[in-house]
Amino acid sequence: MENGTALVKHDNNPDHDHDFENTHDHTHHHHVQPELRQTRRTREQLTHIKGWGADLDHKNRPAVPMERTPPRYTPAGMATPQAQEQKVEVLVSNERPGITQLHGSVQPPSGLSGMLRRAAFKYTENDLRHWLILLGADRINVVEGIIEDLSHGHVPNILGEMGLKAELKHNPKGLAKKVAIAGAIGAAAYFLLKDREERY
């Protein structure tokens, strides 16, 4: 085959790899791709599907246009709701001029995690530190939760909280595998540490 001459054979099977020929100078000569056209099913091939095309017309699409004024499902010109009384500490994004008319009031910030959350809210949402500090606070909050449980005389059933009962019922082999892996890692760590102690 001469350089630049197209191979006309085209394998249309998607499972087959792209064809090429090696020449003595190790240049790969690829098939020229055929004209690519979309294959589309006709309406007749699709109407057996229940409801097919019911919302093809844009007037049947409830979210078109995306921004729809006046709104259909809330009163146009509705008054801003009166402000909810603030009864607990609520952290407010500094990308707002003030607290919103409605706000959530559960789990106000507390403890060390609360201090971190307050610190996070000194940064804007645009600042990565805001989110990274919050993620750090979340992890500390988990430890605080365990301490809180213990301080109330409740020993948390951590395995139960992780769904041990369901795991035993629906995935006993998987559970056995996890226990075996954890046991092997534990045993390896024990012997490594033991050897280390003996060496020194």
């Binding site: 979309q38 509705m78 909810q84 009384e85 959530g104 789990q107």
Partner: protein
């Protein structure tokens, strides 16, 4: 009351908490009769969402009975059976007046990017959710709707999020007649996105996942083609081979930050949390869609950043649309579809689990045990009225 209680990543339990109270004259208290665990609850459960506080009650997909109303509530009364969209919204702000109910600016003090969502961390407003016996519902005149008598509870609860989100995913794809639509994710939202794609006139619907039982289900439920990504070498190449080498017209991300399928994304996004979750599916969407095609994103990602091939999106001239579903605007049309028999949402429910066993429910759903597709939590007082009626009849 009994409520789901978050204790840390992969740890939840059912505990007794104080009953919610009216905090604003527009509030109502709803006695929950059904609540679902949503795939996006798993992002919280896995510790992926910043400002998820210990003690928080999750649950943004719930229905129930009005138990108490604030002094300003006019359209609902005690005893009404209501469906509560997952978005909390005021109805009056700049965004609500444009029907962008998922983007309300008056209800989430703690963030400006995120609207308020029941039981979805303090980043989403710090409201406890509906995986409980009772829940506080702000702006009760605005968001909830009375459930029509001919809509059963199991369909109604799926109208609070999963079905509208799947439907909006397909709508945002701007599907044209005969388009090839690839849906990544065969969870409840992906299943409904696939089903909805036909309503918008798709010519082919292809669903991609790695969980074989879910692919089997969606193939039958949504009459679509399926691909197990574990069986293919490169996802984008495979989609191109399936679509005349051009790519799909529309790709939908119905997975979000907990995606599997890429070691690099899994390690940096899910394990090391160096990005806001694994953006594997977003990567696949951009690289699998055709030039000039549409990518629709309803999978949830965190607020920091993700590694995605945005340069390819530019060079291919892709339109990308995404949002939290604006549930209320979809409800009338979706109820029509249910009545017409176009969609039977309740078929995806695989598990009904007492709220007391919430830890097991989360583990089953998260680990995809027992062929779980959609678990529903039933609070102890869900059938209180019926129980009283039964005892009177005796």
């Amino acid at each position: 009351m009994l409520a789901m209680n978050y204790r840390g990543p992969y740890r939840v339990r059912a505990t007794h908490k104080s009953d919610p109270v009216i905090e604003h004259p527009g509030d109502a208290i709803v006695r929950v009769t059904r609540s679902c665990i949503c795939g996006s609850d798993l992002h919280l459960y896995h510790g992926m969402v910043p400002d998820t506080r210990v003690g928080h009650t999750f649950g943004h997909e719930f229905i129930g009975i009005i138990e108490e109303v604030g002094s300003q509530v006019q359209t609902l009364k005690v005893g009404d059976r209501v469906l509560v969209p997952f978005n909390i919204f005021c109805g009056s702000c700049f965004f609500c007046q444009k029907e962008l109910y998922g983007n309300c600016h008056n209800v989430n003090a703690e963030s400006t990017a995120v609207g308020a969502i029941y039981g979805y961390s303090h980043t989403a407003g710090g409201f406890d959710g509906g995986q409980a016996e009772y829940v506080r519902v702000p702006m009760a005149d605005v968001a909830p709707i009375k459930i029509p008598d001919d809509i059963v509870d199991d369909d109604a609860v799926l109208l609070t999020d999963a079905l509208p989100t799947g439907y909006q995913a397909a709508e945002m794809g701007d599907i044209k007649e005969g388009d090839t639509v690839v849906v990544f994710g065969a969870g409840p939202v992906g299943i409904f996105a696939a089903k909805s794609a036909w309503l918008f006139g798709a010519g082919r619907v292809i669903v991609v996942d790695e969980v074989e039982y879910r692919l089997k289900f969606v193939k039958n439920y949504a009459q679509c083609e399926v691909v197990n990504f574990k069986d293919v070498g490169d996802m984008a190449l495979h989609i191109k081979k399936m679509t005349d080498w051009l790519g799909a017209d529309v790709c939908i991300d119905a997975v979000g930050c907990d995606a599997a399928g890429s070691m690099a994304q899994t390690v940096t996004g899910r394990l090391m949390k160096m990005q806001a979750g694994a953006a594997t599916v977003l990567h696949w969407c951009i690289n699998s869609v055709r030039k000039g095609g549409n990518v629709s994103i309803v999978g949830v990602y965190g607020p920091t950043f993700n590694a995605v091939p945005i340069g390819n999106a530019l060079n291919k001239g892709i339109t990308m649309r995404m949002n939290q579903a604006s549930v209320k605007r979809h409800l009338p049309r979706l109820i029509e579809h249910i009545r017409a028999g176009h969609i039977d949402p309740k078929q995806i429910i695989t598990h009904r689990i007492p709220l007391e066993d919430v830890a097991d429910a989360y583990h089953i759903f998260s680990s995809k045990l027992d062929n779980c597709i959609k678990p529903i939590l039933i609070p102890p007082r869900a059938h209180e009225v019926r129980a009283v009626t039964a005892s009177v009849e005796k």
